[in-house]
């Protein structure tokens, strides 16, 4: 196939992935054209709020890929993955806060507004460096990665698995939420970080910046997908699936299981951190609510509905459920939670492999029919 020329070797059999990346490229082109190049007065113009909304969805899709890597492939059901997303978001938020400079309400060139309000006289040490974008970019990867490393090192080494591990991840995100709610934490307490002005000198409110951030989100999703696909197609990916299916066997053929789990967990946390960092400038706020255990559970539902262990299934799930959420919370706000619950029950009962599994079943049936026709 000609289309294979555009994709690396390891993606040649990945029809879903090729379709996803092609669609992503198409959407990006469409959005850029209709928002940026079509005049605002034209009926064809795409409003900027829609661009931002789409950009948000793409970040959440990247987060879903991160969870699918550890849950779908390694069997680690992390119910605290939104914590890594939020940490990446906070790192970006701290950079954006420092960019406000003296344009805040209190006009203090050094301290963010909430610190002035709390009568703090100087910047806490952990805010140092966040005026630099390069440092921030490093922290976006490093902070979630380090937390995942420490947490994973302790739990995987003690061979905590299954539901116990899920509960511990849930406790982790809950503890972080409570910590970030405190004003003494120096990260804006329950208001979080907001009122951002610009990024790298470009105004966050301008259409141009928004289009660029949207395109970066699409790029991050594509790169995240390709990297994850490379991992799951490699021998490491096969080993990780082997750990999911028969951990003891994997150990007894000479793999140090803890290290593999740790590696994939840290990679996944970093991916989630990047997603969070791209999310924050588009929504304009990051607060401790992002650590809420409910967010992580909802994330698991996206992946389950889309289809575990396929990567593109996670993207489909994230986009679908979030679109449904936007629609329902607008049209029938009181029904959203019921709809989500129903979706989850229906998908676990009738679609154990999610929407992707439904397609596969359909595809198998048609190919079986063809086979019968041939043999008849």
């Amino acid at each position: 196939m000609i289309i294979n020329h555009f994709f690396p070797q390891f993606m040649h059999k990945d029809t879903g992935g090729k379709l996803l990346l092609s669609l992503l490229a198409l959407i990006t082109i469409i959005v850029v054209t209709f928002n940026f190049l079509v005049a605002e007065s034209s009926a064809w113009h795409m409003p900027t709020y829609m661009v931002t909304l789409l950009g948000k969805y793409l970040c959440l899709a990247l987060l879903a890929i991160a969870l699918d890597l550890v849950w779908g492939y390694c069997g680690i059901l992390s119910l605290g993955h939104a914590a890594f997303f939020a940490l990446g978001g906070y790192a970006m938020g701290m950079y954006l806060m420092r960019q406000i400079g003296d344009r805040g309400v209190y006009g203090n060139p050094e301290l963010p507004d909430f610190m002035v309000f709390l009568n703090w006289s100087e910047l806490p040490w952990y805010w140092y460096g966040f005026e630099s974008f390069a440092f921030t970019a490093l922290m976006i990867l490093l902070v979630p990665g380090l937390l995942a490393y420490v947490f994973g090192w302790m739990t995987f080494r003690s061979r905590v698995t299954g539901v116990y591990l899920s509960i511990m991840t849930q406790a982790l995100t809950y503890a972080l939420m409570l910590a970030f709610f405190r004003n003494e934490m120096g990260l804006g307490g329950n208001n979080g970080l907001t009122d951002f002005k610009d990024i790298l000198g470009f105004s966050l409110q301008s259409d141009g910046t928004r289009i660029v951030i949207f395109s970066l989100s699409a790029l991050a999703l594509a790169m995240g997908y390709i990297a994850s696909r490379f991992i799951v197609e490699s021998k490491l990916g096969k080993t990780v699936v082997a750990i999911r299916d028969a951990e003891l066997r994997t150990r007894f053929i000479g793999y140090k299981v803890e290290n593999f789990k740790l590696w994939i967990f840290v990679f996944s946390a970093m991916l989630a951190g990047v997603a969070g960092a791209l999310y924050v400038p588009q929504v304009g706020i990051i607060n401790p609510g992002e650590f809420s255990p409910l967010n992580s559970i909802e994330l698991a539902i996206w992946v389950a509905i889309g289809g575990r262990g396929t990567l593109f299934g996670a993207v489909i799930g994230a986009l679908l459920v979030n679109y449904a959420k936007t629609y329902f919370t607008g049209a029938l706000p009181e029904f959203w939670l019921f709809a989500l619950g129903t979706l989850f029950i229906v998908s676990t009962l009738y679609l154990p492999k999610g929407i992707v599994g439904l397609f596969e079943r359909f595809q198998n049936k048609t190919s079986e029919n063809k086979l019968e026709e041939k043999t008849a």
């Binding site: 490491l236 096969k238 080993t239 699936v241 082997a242 150990r251 007894f252 053929i253 590696w263």
Partner: protein, 291 residues
Amino acid sequence: MNSFSQMQDKVRDVLRRDRTFNHTIVEEDVFLQGTHSVHHNTLDASHGPVLYLEDVSVSFDGFKALNELSLYIDDGELRCIIGPNGAGKTTMMDVITGKTRPDTGLVYFGQTMDLTQMAEHDIAIAGIGRKFQKPTIFPEHSVWENLELAMKTDKGVWHTLFTVLTSEQKDRIEEVMLIIGLQELCYARADLLSHGQKQWLEIGMLLMQDPRVLLVDEPVAGMTHQEMDRTAELLTSLAGKHSVVVVEHDMDFVRSIASQVTVLHEGSVLAEGTMDEVQNNQKVIEVYLGE
């Protein structure tokens, strides 16, 4: 020589004039040094046995699963271990592979590797392969991938991420696939295999590890007679190049393969010898065969 006089020798050695500065270099295994040099992490089976278990005891909540068990497996031998349920056969394998740590006793691989101090994956890499009682394979991987994963190679995370199969490695996989007779099912998912084929695949995975010792727990459970014969053939052909330790309940099968049989009872060795000797042993008849 007792250890005190060895200590004296060591001190004397350190204080020797001509070696004033050398005492900072740690000499390994002073107590184990014989007529030949000894290295850690290389297998040394020069004295005959490749696997030593001495006075090994394991108890679970007061129940003695192993009771001062002593067992020696020679290099290249095929040994069958039989015994009634609860005799400690599986616990013995757990102890050797590092899954269970003994309360007391010595477990050595060769003369230098203390298995009680090693992690499961290190023991596997050192050269002890294990087949479980229930066939344990990777259900969602193909036969080929199952063998590929088991292959003896660098099993570190980064190496595993970037590695690509070399042609020698592919040849090796095909060779093993031929030995276990699954070459036609090369790309079939492993969970679609029959019970007997799964057993063989697991033995094949052991072979891919190229172990010095194979521990095989009930290899013919649930097999037909033809399958059993083939398995017997396979295991006997492996002995010589590898030491093979088979735990089995099926007496006909044991008779068809074993030269040496060890009978376990209540966590220790009851009798050892050829099948005929063991069958005529009065104690064995009492506890096991004389049902």
